[in-house]
């Protein structure tokens, strides 16, 4: 019981926005709302909503890596793509076998972890400077995209699954639990549960001892090392964790759309998680979660209403946010608004007197 209490205390720790009882009540209410949503949503709306949610893990991973550990990786989408492709290959070859998707998912995440470990070792144990990491990860992403893009020939076939080059890998099976195929409303719940669990889990992590060390590394890596912590190993662990989270998003994506192409690991896609995290505020997991959903929703709504201005609006939004809310919209609001309101209230009280 004490362990559970400790766990709960950790989750409600200070390293993210919101810890009062009111916050958690609100959080529970929103979650309940989301669970009950499908009652009045059509299947399309539910799966569309799931699409916004499925981008959250990769953003959370980047938020963790960048906001809490101080390392910007421009190449999270590489793991998104790796997980998607591996799942497609494994599950595609195990069509008809009900355990196919589960094994495919595990394989996808495992390969993500493996590649991240190797690449991370290359980067962190080489003690490259922090600002070089974005460039290195970007180059990795470009390499992967170039490689995948030329796999169009039919010799690029693993088992019965074609990689397909820029046409993409099509016919990727949906996720299955036993004999239940996870689609439509089921898919919505599947993503929702994993996202909430991920958020809480990450919140637990950043408030724990390990989280504190991560923050110390972000603040001053040399000092932390002098205090006796092996920063290279810790950075590597966080990097791998972020990669696995990106992989989870990749898995969701192919299980949603049954399709993946190399453009998912291209330059434009690589910058999207950075944008989501920057706009929300990288120092808070909650901010990242909210901004990811909001920006995806915004992009979809603008495009589907036929606005040619969609990209311009998003560009202008980015500029405005970075100018006026440098720490991110949600973080700034969470921090400053209560203060302003309190000042206003205090002023009014003063006037009355």
């Amino acid at each position: 019981m004490a362990a559970l209490q400790h766990l709960v205390n950790l989750i409600a720790g200070p390293e993210d926005i919101g810890r009062s009882r009111w916050f958690w009540a609100a959080f529970a209410a929103v979650c309940a709302l989301l669970f009950v949503n499908p009652l009045w949503l059509t299947e399309f709306e539910a799966t569309n909503g799931a699409y916004y949610l499925l981008n959250v893990p990769i953003a959370l991973g980047l938020g963790l890596l960048w906001g809490y550990c101080g390392i910007l990786s421009f190449g999270q989408v590489a793991y998104f793509g790796i997980a998607g492709y591996i799942y497609g290959i494994v599950a595609g070859n195990m069509v008809g076998d009900a355990t196919g998707p589960i094994i495919g998912s595990l394989c996808g995440l495992a390969v993500c972890g493996l590649v991240a470990t190797i690449f991370g070792y290359f980067v962190f144990y080489g003690r490259v400077q922090n600002w070089i990491v974005p460039i290195l990860t970007l180059v990795l992403t470009l390499l992967l995209e170039t490689f995948l893009g030329q796999t169009a020939g039919y010799q690029w076939r693993v088992g019965s699954v074609q990689l397909g080059g820029y046409n993409g890998m099509t016919g990727i099976p949906a996720f299955q639990l036993g004999s239940y195929v996870v689609m439509g409303y089921g898919f919505y719940y599947y993503v929702l549960i994993v996202v909430i669990a991920t958020y809480l889990g990450l919140r637990l992590l950043v408030n724990s001892r390990h989280g504190k060390v991560m923050l110390a590394i972000r603040e001053d890596a040399i000092r932390t090392e002098l205090l006796g912590y092996d920063i290279r190993a810790r950075q590597l662990v966080v990097f791998v964790l972020a990669a696995v989270l990106a992989g989870i998003s990749g898995l969701f994506y192919v299980q949603w759309g049954n399709y993946i192409t190399p453009s998912q690991v291209g330059l434009v896609q690589a910058s999207l998680p950075v944008v989501w995290v920057a706009v929300g505020g990288r120092e808070s997991l909650l901010a990242v979660l909210l901004s990811t959903c909001a920006l995806n929703w915004l992009n979809y709504t603008l495009s589907s209403e036929g606005y040619q201005y969609a990209l311009i609006i998003i560009g202008a939004l980015l500029v405005a946010v970075m100018l006026f809310f440098p720490s991110g919209i949600v973080v700034t609001l969470a921090r400053d608004l209560p203060r302003h309101l309190r000042t206003l209230r205090g002023q009014r009280k003063g006037e009355v007197q």
């Binding site: 390293e15 993210d16 926005i17 919101g18 810890r19 009062s20 009111w22 916050f23 009540a25 609100a26 209410a29 929103v30 709302l33 949503n37 009045w40 949503l41 059509t42 709306e45 799966t47 569309n48 909503g49 101080g70 922090n130 170039t146 893009g149 030329q150 169009a152 020939g153 074609q162 397909g164 080059g165 046409n167 993409g168 099509t170 016919g171 994506y253 759309g257 049954n258 399709y259 192409t261 453009s263 505020g281 808070s284 909210l290 959903c293 909001a294 992009n299 979809y300 495009s303 036929g306 040619q308 969609a310 990209l311 440098p326 720490s327 973080v331 609001l333 969470a334 209560p338 309101l341």
Partner: protein, 519 residues
Amino acid sequence: MSDQSKSSQALGSDPLSKSADAPSGAGTDRRNALKLMGAAGAGLAAPGLGATYLRGFEYTRSVQAQGSSPVKIGFIEDESGNLSVYGIQKLHAAQLAVKEINEGKTLKGGPDIGAGGLGAIGNVAKKPPTISKEGVGLDVVNDGGEKSTTEVVFDEDGDVFVDSGDKGILGREVSLVSVDGQSNNALWQQLARRLIQQDKVDVLVAGFASAEREAIRPIVDQFKQLYFYTNQYEGGVADANTFCTGPVCEQQVIPVVQYMVEKFGPRGYTLAADYNFGQLTAAWTKAFAPLVGGQIIGEEFIPLSVSEFSQVIARVQQAKPDWVMTLLVGQNQQNYYPQAAAAGLKFPMASTVNMAQGYEHKRFKPPSLANMHNAIQYQLEVPSARNRAFVKRWMTMFPEDQYIGEMAQNTYFTIHLYAKAARIAGTTDQEKMKKALELGWSIEAPEGSVFLEPGTHHCAHYIRLAVCDENHDVKFVRDWPSIQAWWLQRLGVNLVRHPEYKQYTPDEDPYFKMFLKKA
């Protein structure tokens, strides 16, 4: 020579110095919670709220007279982003076609007629020659009318744009529900779902790149949506829900290679974009060149991101071919033409992609595209009377447009074809429409007579060989009035009897390996 010490603010410093403030986790109070809940609730329930609003919209629309509900054509193209130069053309084509249908116009054509059949406009000579048999040989009694001076075999009638006798489709107005894919595959998937599941469009016309088509085909198949893909592509799609009205490899590669071999010699060198379309088309070129007397002596596959071609040019010069097959796609790769011209490359070029879609001969200065040959099914400069009328109609509606490309014309006649099929079917119900489209349709498109084959769901096209000269003027030197999309036929695809939902690749064709061995 050092001009900066390491402690400078330049790249040596740590750019990740933390900003002074951090979120205060402590003491967020009720107000904050409420605000966050508001934000969270709004943000995360937005799909619900937004959807409710949208659905309200739907509801009011459906409350209007049921019988007069419009026929919805769902349309996804890239109006922004990298592929917008093609997407905007196709959008205009769709808008023109919808306007003409709503005004009660259509193109001539009909079902059960087939290429060269009754309703098609065939070989009409003013005065046909008269022949009789004398002894061993044949004697020409009468030479007939004037010989053609343009080498165009089919003398075409200008008036194929006629009244349909209908206002819209079956009395219902046609409305184009068009959305912008932004050259972003994930967005295409979302938009396809929206058009199919939410807007419940009667037909979907979408896709430029094969990647976009393959992204939405699973969704199309899941919901059994009637879908037209109007673009040129690498061939092989055998899908009972999909009708491909663009030209495929066998209709363009073989004619142009045959012409190049006859005119310039047997040795060809291929430059292809390094992705599916480029690789497959290059495979076709390599396999079929020997059958028309040619030989591909070298191939180079260029990644889509490359835009600087001096090395490629040097390799071409080293190989010394008789002609070069350029299958270059995308804005970066088109830079090959001015660069090659500047480097003094004088080899005649052949292509199945350039000129007709991205109008390179209008965008690049002469003589970049000099001596370019393309076996096209349509481009703006097609000289027939019916095309001149079509271009005039188009430019009246869109005077700012710079070009009408191959895919735009395909979109145009496809939508007209859909309207005609709906009138014969008497309904826009999708399953009945698919059956109606399998009647064997022929339609008089601006390119010429086009025949939609029932079994393969592909079109037989009118192919012309276009040559671009040093002034970037285009002339047409050879016609093939009808080339079928025979490859899927050879594979035994018959979607009328055996519905399928896949895309075939050349390695599934046993004959391809035979030809490759000879090559």
